[in-house]
């Protein structure tokens, strides 16, 4: 891109909307997965859909690759820039455009931070349900792109169940409005298709989201165990007996200790082998009945203590501890690799065993937290990225953990998406034909492959489909 294009873009977004100094651009080189780094050529921070579209038109004309970015909390390298590419950041698009209390929805700009939406509507007794642990920082646009989950998604469902409509800017700068009919979807569910597309279909600029009524009664329970196995067994039993808490989360010993050392110390007992945090919501009778059943399982599985949050403050503190767990691991080592493994819930215990063995074999320090309700576990591996050999072992552990998930009938990703991190394993989970079909869909949205190129679907698969289509070999295409 030459200076003329730079100034054309600057004219669109204004001086404060462009980051092009070689120094200022440095922190954009990675997202939450800091081992992957690539400095972009330019960062643009538009304020509106129109500005975004105008930028996209210029970049389309110039054939420049684009990486969308929300808050950069993604853990799979989805927002890692590409060489010579432009990052379009949504961080300045954080207005609540409409709050409709009667019909319970909000229209927001895509850069609004997840927790800000709940803050904006809580005085009406409403909240936005998907609550990734990063909710105080991550953007709703990023949530859409990754179809993010969170502890309470066990009850309320992942992001996709809460999206009613989108305004997107396409690869060539066109603005499209995609709406989901509230009653019965008519025609193709394009919103559903867009959610989880990790920035490869377009940039979401405005989002219409469902809001949920606050439950009248909430009870938060913390069960303390001497070992991790019993905690996992408890979760499995809770689900087998069809109890319906809104969340079931487990933290292991190392995680507990890190959290207790941090500003989010929640009073989890340091000597515990594991804690299980669960919440029951609903009407008074419902809640007390369910919580009684849950307590019975706790004692069956050998919980040494069960605590109930006495008030909102204590409830929030128990959750803040859980949500600060990733960051608290910063006390253990400079870097943390968060694997995002998902298995059928009955296999949770076996999967834990396997991750422990993998870590032991590769001589790595492991701490695990679980969204146990969803069969989603995050084996967190502590490392120091300056140690090349350790990085190699971490990546190997990551690969092996994901492959064992697939082998166990699970999935590559519970909620963090594929990004750059899991590209290779996509080929482990999917047959070549499946990947080729995905490429065909992708090509409809982005025929030039300039939107988040090299993410989500392995390049090889893409090249093969295209070659088949136009009768050329992948080698020809690569050239």
């Amino acid at each position: 891109m030459n200076a003329k294009v730079h100034s054309e873009l600057r004219a669109i977004v204004g001086d404060r909307g462009i980051v092009d100094s070689p120094t200022r651009i440095v922190p954009y080189e990675s997202d939450g997965l800091a081992i992957l780094r690539q400095r972009p050529e330019l960062v643009l921070l538009p304020r509106t859909t129109e500005e975004t579209a105008a930028c996209m038109q210029v970049l389309h004309r110039e054939g420049v690759p684009i990486v969308p970015r929300g808050a950069g909390t993604g853990l799979a390298g989805g927002a890692t820039p590409v060489e010579g590419g432009v990052v379009i950041g949504l961080a300045r698009m954080r207005e609540v455009l409409e709050l409709n209390v009667e019909d319970r929805f909000a229209r927001v700009q895509a850069g609004l931070v997840n927790a800000s939406l709940t803050r904006a509507c809580e005085k009406h007794d409403l909240f936005y349900a998907p609550d990734p642990s990063s909710q105080r920082a991550c953007t709703l646009g990023g949530n859409i792109a990754a179809n993010s989950g969170g502890p309470h998604c066990f009850k309320y469902g992942n992001t996709t169940q809460h999206v009613l409509g989108l305004v997107i800017v396409t690869h060539d700068g066109e603005v499209l409005e995609l709406t989901e009919s509230d009653v019965e979807p008519l025609g193709y569910d394009l919103v559903g298709l867009f959610v989880g597309s990790e920035g490869t279909f377009g940039i979401a600029t405005e989002i219409k989201l469902r809001l949920v009524r606050r439950p009248p009664v909430v009870e938060t329970l913390l069960a303390i165990f001497t070992d991790l196995d019993s905690a996992c067994e408890t979760a499995t039993k809770m689900i087998a007996r069809r109890l319906e808490p809104s969340a079931i989360e487990i933290l292991d010993k190392l995680t507990i200790q890190a959290v207790e050392d941090s500003v989010f110390a929640a009073g989890y007992p340091r000597e515990a082998g594991a804690v299980l945090l669960t919440e029951v919501e609903g009407l008074e009778e419902e809640v007390s009945a369910t919580s009684e059943d849950i307590r019975a399982i706790f004692s069956e599985c050998g919980a040494i203590e069960v605590r109930t949050a006495r008030d909102d403050a204590e409830r929030l503190s128990l959750w803040a501890g859980r949500k600060g767990a990733f960051g608290a691991m910063g006390r253990v080592a400079p870097d943390l690799y968060v694997a995002d493994a998902c298995v059928p819930r009955t296999k949770l215990g076996a999967m834990v065993q396997q991750t422990v063995e993998i870590a032991k074999e590769l001589n790595l320090r492991l701490a695990t937290v679980f969204h146990a309700g969803d069969g989603n576990l995050h084996p967190n591996i502590c490392y120091d990225r300056r140690d090349q050999d350790e990085v190699r072992r971490v990546l190997e552990a990551g690969r092996r953990i994901l492959e064992s998930c697939v082998d166990a009938g699970g999935s590559l990703s519970g909620e963090h998406g594929v990004g750059l991190e899991k590209l290779e394993q996509m080929e482990y989970q999917f047959a070549a034909e499946d990947l080729a079909t995905m490429c065909l869909v992708r090509d409809v949205w982005d025929p030039d492959r300039r939107l988040n190129p090299g993410k989500l679907i392995p390049l090889r698969a893409c090249m093969e489909t295209r070659a088949a289509f136009i009768g050329k070999t992948p080698q020809d295409i690569a050239r």
Partner: protein, 457 residues
């Protein structure tokens, strides 16, 4: 000014501390400069990323780097939410120190820094004279003229012009060396406390110091002041003059170390009514290497430091005086960053305010009362535009709250609010917590208990 020593790139920043950051991003939303710009580089995570890049030779410090470091308010809000325990305040002190040593600065800037940091702040006589000069410049209109017409430093003169009017010299006198406790008290023995008067407080906010002293004596403390303690060096440490900060720390330690000639014993609490100073004094040991004997002496001093609200709240709870202050409009509280984020003091000021019956005028909450007002020491003078932009959303919140009296407990914040309120044309008064409590106490203490000295005021 000592000659710059050559530093390796790892020494340009606190490299080990940068490794604490795990890149989770949980701090982003709390950072006022990220709020303002939406730029990752102007966030805590972004700044640490830059520092680490410098240490690892992936980035050569340039003007853009220095500007990002100076854009930070050192409000430490990020520390309050960082699960990894990042210490931004300390990291910024190191990064800025190396910047000021290494960067070529204009003669004017170097001269101003030297005059301010090395001549004015550490020296009571110079402070007193400056107080009088400032009063003259304010009264005569000279300052206003300079703010509009000066060929140099016009923004800085404007910042000076925005300062509160300096009181006449007879009201700016220092506190007496000892003030006895007033009245009878439920605690078995009255205690002795040492009160830190501060560098600019006696010049700009002498009434706050007097209120602090009266409150302490009314709560049963005998209050001593220490003329050898002048400036704590917080401004130096935050603004890239670690050598200056160390030397002032040593003076302070010397001043307060127990010896026959002073009232101070190893356990006498030192009450500080400026949150920025109390925060810094509690962390004084950070300035010295742990092997340095000064480190232990600094720690001993730090143990004695208590913020005004921290000292007062439990005593008030014990005494339970009947406090009433009928005001005509609602009041609100804005927590200084270095109180809530620097010292985790959140409940004590609220407890104090809750102990006062404000009549029908309820206490209203100020939205974002833990976010920075943009004062940030001398930031408001160094970067007036950014400082005003950061205050703007808080002024909106103040207006929405409907409060007519805003209470805080740090002189910088008090000034920043006063000038912002004037700029907006709002009708809100700003007071220090001690002033409000003093008002309430003076109305509840029977006249007979006031000693002559008190009534003479």
């Amino acid at each position: 000014m000592s000659p710059a020593k050559i530093r390796t790139s790892e020494e340009l920043v606190d490299y080990a501390a940068t490794l604490d950051c795990i890149h989770c991003g949980l701090c982003l939303e709390t950072c006022p400069t990220y709020q303002l710009t939406g730029v990752e580089t102007s966030s805590p995570r972004g700044r640490i990323h830059l520092m680490r890049a410098v240490a690892e030779n992936n980035l050569v410090p340039d003007d853009a780097y220095r500007d990002e470091m100076e854009f930070c308010l050192v409000c430490r809000h990020c520390e309050s939410v960082c699960p990894a325990g990042v210490r931004m305040g300390e990291m910024m002190s190191v990064a800025r120190d190396s910047m000021h040593e290494d960067a070529p600065r204009s003669l004017g800037v170097r001269l101003a820094r030297w005059l301010g940091f090395r001549v004015l702040l550490p020296n009571r006589a110079a402070l007193r004279i400056s107080g009088s000069l400032l009063r003259f410049a304010q009264k005569s209109g000279l300052l206003r003229w300079l703010a509009e017409h000066s060929p140099v430093a016009r923004e800085q003169f404007a910042a000076l012009a925005a300062l509160p009017t300096v009181a006449p010299a007879n009201l700016r006198r220092m506190l007496p060396a000892r003030s006895p406790a007033i009245g009878s008290h439920s605690s078995s023995q009255t205690s002795v406390v040492s009160m830190f008067e501060g560098c600019v407080m006696p010049e700009l906010y002498s009434q706050v110091n007097r209120a602090t002293e009266t409150v302490l004596t009314r709560l049963g403390a005998e209050v001593c002041t220490n003329p050898a303690a002048v400036c704590c060096g917080a401004l130096h440490a935050h603004n890239g003059d670690l050598a200056g900060a160390r030397s002032l720390a040593q003076k302070l330690i010397n001043a307060y170390e127990p010896r026959e000639s002073t009232e101070d014993s190893a356990s006498t609490p030192i009450v500080v009514n400026s949150a920025g100073c109390s925060a810094h004094m509690k962390e004084l040991a950070h300035l010295f290497d742990s092997a340095d004997p000064w480190h232990a002496r600094a720690e001993a001093l730090a143990k004695r430091i208590v913020d005004f609200s921290e000292y007062v709240a439990p005593r008030l709870a014990e005494e339970q005086p009947d406090l009433r202050l009928d005001l005509s409009a609602p009041i609100t509280w804005d927590n200084p960053c270095h109180l809530c984020h620097g010292q985790s003091i959140r409940e004590q000021p609220l407890d104090i305010l809750r102990s006062i019956d404000f009549g029908s005028n309820a206490f209203v909450e100020l939205e974002g009362s833990e976010s920075c007002c943009g004062s940030a020491g001398i930031y408001s003078a160094l970067r007036p535009q950014d400082s005003a932009d950061i205050l703007d959303p808080k002024l909106d919140a103040l207006k929405d709250s409907g409060a007519k009296l805003l209470i805080t407990s740090n002189p910088g914040c008090q000034m920043q609010w006063q000038s912002g309120i004037r700029r907006r044309g709002l009708d809100v008064e700003v007071k220090h917590l001690a002033e409000v409590l003093d008002d309430a106490l003076s109305r509840s203490v029977p006249e007979s208990e006031l000693d002559a000295n008190e009534r003479g005021e």
